[in-house]
């Protein structure tokens, strides 16, 4: 059983169009479930969690919130700095600069890595170009590699001169969920902690256009789920991300292997179940979905054929009409 600790959405509210109402218990359930699943992760095996619900609405977005909260606290993402060595030459990157007054960020191009012998020890260095022409080239030692971030801006958008942008300060809404230190990290460092495969328009509305609020020291602070989930698809190119959204009807391939993949809906599961074989998977099944029965049968077959062990996530009482099944599979 996984120890979930306290609920993350205590003293939380949502805006119903005219006023703020306390968040219902099912909201807390999904956030806590996302965090619990993330906490249960084991690199030696992969966890499959299926959730059948009366509606898919908000379930995946809230689960992703829980995943990001938990894994940000434990730094559980694709954070291994070795990825930098795997970058192609001229790959766009962001470089951070932390100062007492705030954090700054610049666009850069990765120009390769090499070893330099310092006091008899081979220290890896990364070479970064900060402008278009290559006049501003710097060597960053391994100790500074955590300041390098993945980016996907077009190379043509590189500035003519080295330019540093101030990163927006974290908001109290984010700090309520993850604390100040992690909040700053969320704002400045990109890590892929989960992906959601689902209907992009619905997820965009849930993540960006639904106003939530929390009570912090007798003040109400507002925000939305995207503030924390930070889905790359809906973020600006300069913003740090923690997750990504893949439209369910896209081609059916994804290069990265996130720690957790959330398959939002029966079609997402049926179409994308063969991907993310190295990730833990959360499958949200809407009972009213046209393909619900086929998805449950396929999932039950997977449970029968590939399960190595079961897991009690210890989520407590699920909301009415919600069923949860969790089991381990071996890493393929």
């Amino acid at each position: 059983m996984v120890d979930l600790g306290m609920s993350y959405f205590v003293r939380g509210y949502f805006f119903n169009g005219s006023r703020y109402c306390p968040v219902p218990t099912w909201v807390q359930f999904y956030v806590d479930a996302g965090a619990g699943i993330s906490a249960a992760s084991d690199p030696k095996k992969r966890l499959v969690t299926a959730i059948a619900a009366p509606t898919r609405a908000y379930a995946a977005a809230l689960l992703a919130l829980g995943v990001v909260i938990d894994s940000s606290a434990t730094n559980n993402g694709i954070a291994c700095l070795d990825w930098i060595k795997g970058l192609e030459i001229d790959c766009p990157v962001f470089i951070l600069k932390r100062k007492p007054g705030g954090t700054w960020r610049a666009k850069g191009l990765y120009k390769g890595s090499y070893y330099r012998c310092i006091d008899g020890v081979d220290v890896p260095y990364a070479s970064i170009q900060f402008d278009q022409a290559g006049d501003s080239l710097r060597e960053l030692p391994f100790s500074m590699w955590d300041l390098i971030q993945e980016a996907d801006f077009p190379i043509a958008s590189m500035p003519k001169k080295e330019t540093w942008y101030r990163v927006a300060a974290s908001k109290p809404f984010i700090e309520h969920f993850v604390g100040r230190t992690v909040a700053e990290d969320l704002m400045t460092r990109s890590l892929l902690q989960c992906v959601i495969v689902g209907q992009a328009a619905a997820l965009e509305s849930e993540l960006l256009h639904t106003e939530f609020a929390v009570e912090v020291r007798e003040h109400v602070v507002k925000g939305n789920l995207q503030d924390i989930v930070r889905a790359r698809r809906f973020a600006s190119t300069m913003a740090a991300f923690r997750s990504d959204v893949i439209p369910v009807d896209s081609a059916g391939s994804y290069d990265l292997s996130p720690p957790i993949a959330i398959l939002d809906g029966s079609t997402a599961y049926l179409k994308w179940r063969h991907l993310f074989r190295g990730s833990d998977r959360i499958i949200v099944l809407d009972r009213a979905d046209r393909n619900f029965e086929e998805a449950v049968r396929t999932l039950n077959d997977e449970y029968t054929l590939e399960r190595t062990d079961e897991l009690d996530l210890g989520l407590g009482a699920a909301p009415a009409g919600v069923e949860v099944m969790a089991f381990w599979e071996s890493v393929s």
Partner: protein, 514 residues
Amino acid sequence: MPTSVAATNRIYVCRENCSWTVHCTHHSGFRKFCFALTQLDQALGDEASADDFWRDWMRPLRRYRFDMSAAPLPFDHPEAILEEQLASLQAGVAECESLFPDYAPLARAVLEKLRSVVESRDNPILQLLTSLFPEDALHPAAILLKEPRLMPAAESVLNLHALLDGISLVSPQQLRGSACYAKLAVIGPARWFPDYVFMAPRARSIDVIQFDWISSRWEPSVSLASGAKAVVPTFNTVGAVPSLVEQGLNAMDVIPPVDWDAIAAASKARHAAEYNQEKVPARLFLLSGEVAVYLDADEQATATIIDAEQDGTAAVRRELVRRIEPGTYVLLRTEGGGDYIVPVADLIMGNQAMHARTLQSRWKDSLAEYVRRMGMQATCSALERRGATHANENNVRNWMNKRKIRPDADADFTAILRLVGLEADSGDYRTAMKLIDSAHQRAGQRIRELLLDQVDRADLEELHRLGRMDFELPDAGSGTLTAFRVEGNSQHTFPVPPSLLGRPFDSENRQWHE
């Protein structure tokens, strides 16, 4: 429209507080008819579905039993059974006396009981409904019907009752979205409806109204293999329930089976002349409103579908025919003939259309003529000798098909032109086919754009409710297109003339304007 937290919360509240009740209603005459029909069905055993006579004779009876159990209609409602059907059933009994004398008494008994029921104006389902929706009933309320075909008739009956007038009639598909009701009356046994109607209810109170001779047993058809289970609804039962001795008729046996062969026969009877043409394998689909259609069974064949989500969004796209499943909406031309791409493509080609189409017809007709004279096998061999690389029976049939513009491989097209003596003008033929191909692609794109624009503005609730919706694309010149919900598809294919592909027809062989 995206679902809000408040709307989502209403769904969870419905599930948490829902009460489920089964109300069994009784009507002695109808019960007697239904048991007589069941008795005959059981006596006939497999013959009931295997023998053409019994299949045809039983069909209107099964349908009447279902319709009367599935909608608040009086037993004498003209929509349910027609005077001429009664006469035809009577004639069937006379025929039965000589063909199947052992079963004649049972058939006579069925008809006798039917005659006494159809003379009655009783409407037990309506009676129960009026007691369930008193003047001070909570709103919004809805009545769920399994069969959208019965909605207009049911609506006209409800409109006559002040207490029920204004209560929405909904289809199961409408209960997949975020709209929730205070009260939902379900007409027919719970097993007729998808699990989500009860497991993910969109109402705080669900009242199932069914006849007492149908079994009211229900359980969800699937659940996750392990883990924390959702509570399965427990139905409180009100009214007489089938006794242990009678057991009650299995709810699923009351649904008239889809007789694919009869539907195919109906199409064949209507288009007998066209059946003289070469045939291609086709998949038969049953669509909402007792309409059927053949679609090309080729592995790569596609059709336009509307993927209408419950949140009000919809996508218009091409889908492989073999992947079209019940619940999707297939788009067909219901005015002006089968293929809606051709007229739009012709408009795009302008004054070049006639010449290009003439050339297309010429080589296809010449090839078809060659096949008729020499046979399929000899044609394939002759094409191979002339350099064709894919000349097999299936492909040659496809190449003759008016829907296929030309063979994909140049070598095959050259071989055909050589075979039918058109090689001298091969340049003209290639240019014309290229023109048609490009016009078809642009036409498909144009129709999708116009359609998407209309779909965006359409009331998709109505599409979900009735299972069909007409779209006029005047700018495209494609006539009326109709989106039909797919209700079922045949397991096997049927050989049909290509001209019938994509042309909807009445599955019950009644008048259908094409």
